[in-house]
């Protein structure tokens, strides 16, 4: 009953004209960047972060979240019509979505993607409503040792569950942790790695680092090698949007399975929508009686990854808002946005700021409805976005980023930090070093050190505190499994190949 009351409060707040307007702006902007290849949701959220400083916390968070899930919707349009995935998770939609368009079923593929995204998002929102308060209540009793272990788990998961080398991921996590030590040590008051630079005494600016690593690095990549986009699109009219009864009977089950997978994956740190979309597509192929038909225009191949993709995006808010632990860099930036308003996401947030939590939850659903209404009539308009010349787009984005970084602390030093990390991010990406774990390490570095220090202080320097506490011990056990998994899987793969 209390949850329902809270939800009503959330809808009341989310339906306020100001919140509704920023939600519309957020999802529209998200769809816009989702359509454009090379401009991800992360870059846009980093870019828009300074704009939210002038807003109150709820509209600010609603706008940033809207960009995140709006981008997932937008990227599916170009995946289906042009075979151009606007973002990495949409690559799975290309596999069957584009062949459907070539068969003259572009409208059905798009409507399937939209409905699946909506259903996936809705299921994840329901999970958020049901589980977030329970998780928050449980997390209130966490000790410092438990917090240290769960944060360590998030960091190890970010390094090992992502795509690519585990060692490279771990290097990036520890580099992020190391960068977080720059500035004044809060416990002792002494300076670390400031080299006499006064601007570094408060540490490296998170917006400057995030915009450099993701925004500027991505723009540099696109400036070095501008992407050639095929603009040959397939026509979509109203009549072609209507799926048949057979289509409905084919896609509702994959849609539910995709939603479940996406919701589960989204809650795990370090995974994200790409893995969710990939796993759900693989699952559909496995359970299908005709797996060979996938890749030739099967509706299940569109429904499952789209549902999983959007569900994982919404579910990622569960650990972020209830535990204060970001699962991916986008969540890390959202946390930064809240911290600037002196709001610390975590178990206390539900008690201290119920209006913010439930307002955001309600806005997700409103945003999903807006997207459904917004996307279908304006498909042609979204496709025409691809005609924006990169020669106009990237210089404009660079200027917006620079102005955004400068506006946080009104210092040029942050602009230099941003360009430095932009170059670092570019070279790291070239060598396949993932930069997302670096940002997570940087964001969690402070709390990890604080909880580690506090746990040892309380135990009088006894390191066994981390294995004596059952919750902490269980998280450490999962960390060991995650680290051993790649080593154990090598002989198994060898046996299978043999």
């Amino acid at each position: 009953m209390e949850t329902l009351n809270n939800l009503f409060l959330g809808f009341e707040l989310a339906l306020a004209p100001e919140v509704l307007l920023v939600c519309l702006v957020g999802v529209t902007l998200g769809t816009f960047v989702g359509v454009l290849p090379g401009v991800g949701a992360l870059t846009t959220i980093a870019l828009c972060l300074p704009l939210t400083f002038q807003m109150s916390p709820l509209p600010g968070l609603v706008m940033l979240a809207g960009i995140f899930y709006g981008a997932q919707y937008g990227s599916s349009i170009t995946s289906i019509l042009l075979n151009v995935p606007g973002s990495a998770p949409a690559a799975m939609t290309c596999l069957d979505g584009h062949p459907m368009a070539r068969q003259g079923r572009a409208g059905v593929a798009i409507i399937t993607a939209m409905i699946s995204s909506f259903l996936g998002g809705t299921l994840a929102i329901l999970l958020l409503i049901l589980f977030a308060p329970i998780l928050a209540q449980w997390a209130v009793h966490f000790s410092s040792a438990d917090y240290f272990s769960i944060m360590l788990l998030a960091l190890v998961a970010a390094a090992s569950l992502g795509i690519g080398s585990v060692v490279k991921g771990l290097i990036m996590v520890f580099l992020g942790l190391l960068l977080s030590t720059v500035g004044t040590d809060l416990a002792t008051g002494s300076f670390r790695y400031t080299f006499g630079v006064a601007a570094l005494s408060d540490g490296i600016s998170l917006p400057a680092l995030a915009m450099g690593l993701f925004g500027v690095a991505e723009i540099f990549k696109n400036m070095v090698r501008p992407q050639q986009i095929s603009k040959k699109s397939f026509a979509v009219n109203w009549r072609s949007l209507l799926p048949t009864l057979e289509d409905f009977s084919l896609f509702w089950r994959p849609c539910l399975r995709g939603s479940a997978i996406g919701s589960f994956i989204g809650m795990l740190p370090g995974t994200g929508p790409t893995i969710a979309a990939f796993l759900s597509y693989a699952m559909e192929k496995k359970v299908s009686s005709k797996p060979q038909g996938f890749g030739t225009g099967r509706i299940e191949g569109v429904a499952a990854p789209e549902a999983a993709n959007n569900a994982s995006v919404q579910a990622a808010f569960i650990p972020t808002l209830t535990l204060g632990i970001p699962g991916d860099p986008i969540m890390a930036i959202l946390i930064a946005g809240l911290l600037i308003h002196n709001i610390s996401p975590g178990p206390q947030m539900l008690q201290e700021h119920p209006d913010l939590f439930w307002g955001v939850v309600a806005s997700f659903w409103i945003g999903n409805v807006i997207l459904l209404v917004l996307n279908i009539p304006f498909i042609r308009l979204w496709v025409s976005v691809l005609h924006i010349s990169p020669k106009t787009l990237y210089p404009a984005m660079l200027l917006l980023i620079v102005l955004g970084v400068y506006s946080v602390n009104l210092t040029s030093f942050d602009v230099f930090v941003c360009v430095f990390f932009g170059l670092i991010g570019y070279f790291l990406n070239q060598q396949q070093y993932p930069t997302a774990p670096l940002l997570l390490g940087f964001v969690l570095g402070g709390p990890v050190e604080e909880n580690f220090r506090r746990a040892l202080q309380l135990s009088n320097g006894d390191m066994s505190i981390f294995i004596k506490e059952p919750v902490s011990a269980s998280f450490l056990f999962i960390i060991i499994i995650l680290l051993l998994l790649p080593i154990l899987s090598i002989p198994m793969i060898g046996k299978k190949r043999g």
């Binding site: 002038q54 490279k168 540099f220």
Partner: protein, 161 residues
């Protein structure tokens, strides 16, 4: 000499090697901070601990990558057109434009600093090779971007520039 030759054939070793040297330097600096005891950790404990793990990880990565073959860059076939690359021009002009913006913004103000940034970014994207008409359109677009940013950041958000 042999080490340089080995490194030139193993380009993938560059990042872990740089990270190794960087972390080692930071470890030396961190060793000057107070380490403290386990019950009351000093400012240097956490950086030293992280640096040590990072050094081990970079050494492991160096070991892994030194035995891995250098990834071959796939050359496009005759029928494929080679994608146009602005390397290293883009990586020189665009960062220089940002640095200049940072250096000039407090002294010269928003319009001059931002115009220079846009000019450098356009050069980074090889826009100078355009025809006269295209350059005029680009100029008009840049003016539009400047006005948009001026309205958004200075008029609406009140950025003191």
């Amino acid at each position: 000499m042999n080490a340089i030759l080995f490194l030139s054939t193993k380009r993938q070793l560059f990042v872990p090697l740089c990270l190794f040297i960087f972390t080692l330097a930071l470890l030396v600096i961190a060793s000057n901070y107070t380490l403290g005891k386990l019950s009351s950790l000093g400012a240097g404990f956490f950086p030293c601990f992280i640096c040590s793990i990072l050094i081990l990880l970079t050494l492991l990565q160096l070991k892994i990558q030194s035995i891995e073959p250098t990834p071959k860059t796939t050359e496009p076939t005759r029928n494929e057109s080679k994608p146009k690359s602005n390397f290293p021009v883009a990586l020189i002009y665009a960062p220089c434009g940002i640095v200049l913006w940072g250096l000039l913004v407090d002294g010269t103000g928003f319009f001059i600093a931002s115009s220079i940034l846009l000019l450098f970014s356009n050069t980074a994207m090889n826009s100078s090779r355009n025809t006269r008409n295209e350059l005029l359109i680009l100029l008009a677009k840049n003016l539009g971007i400047l006005i948009f940013c001026f309205i958004l950041f200075i008029k609406i958000l009140g950025l003191p520039l």
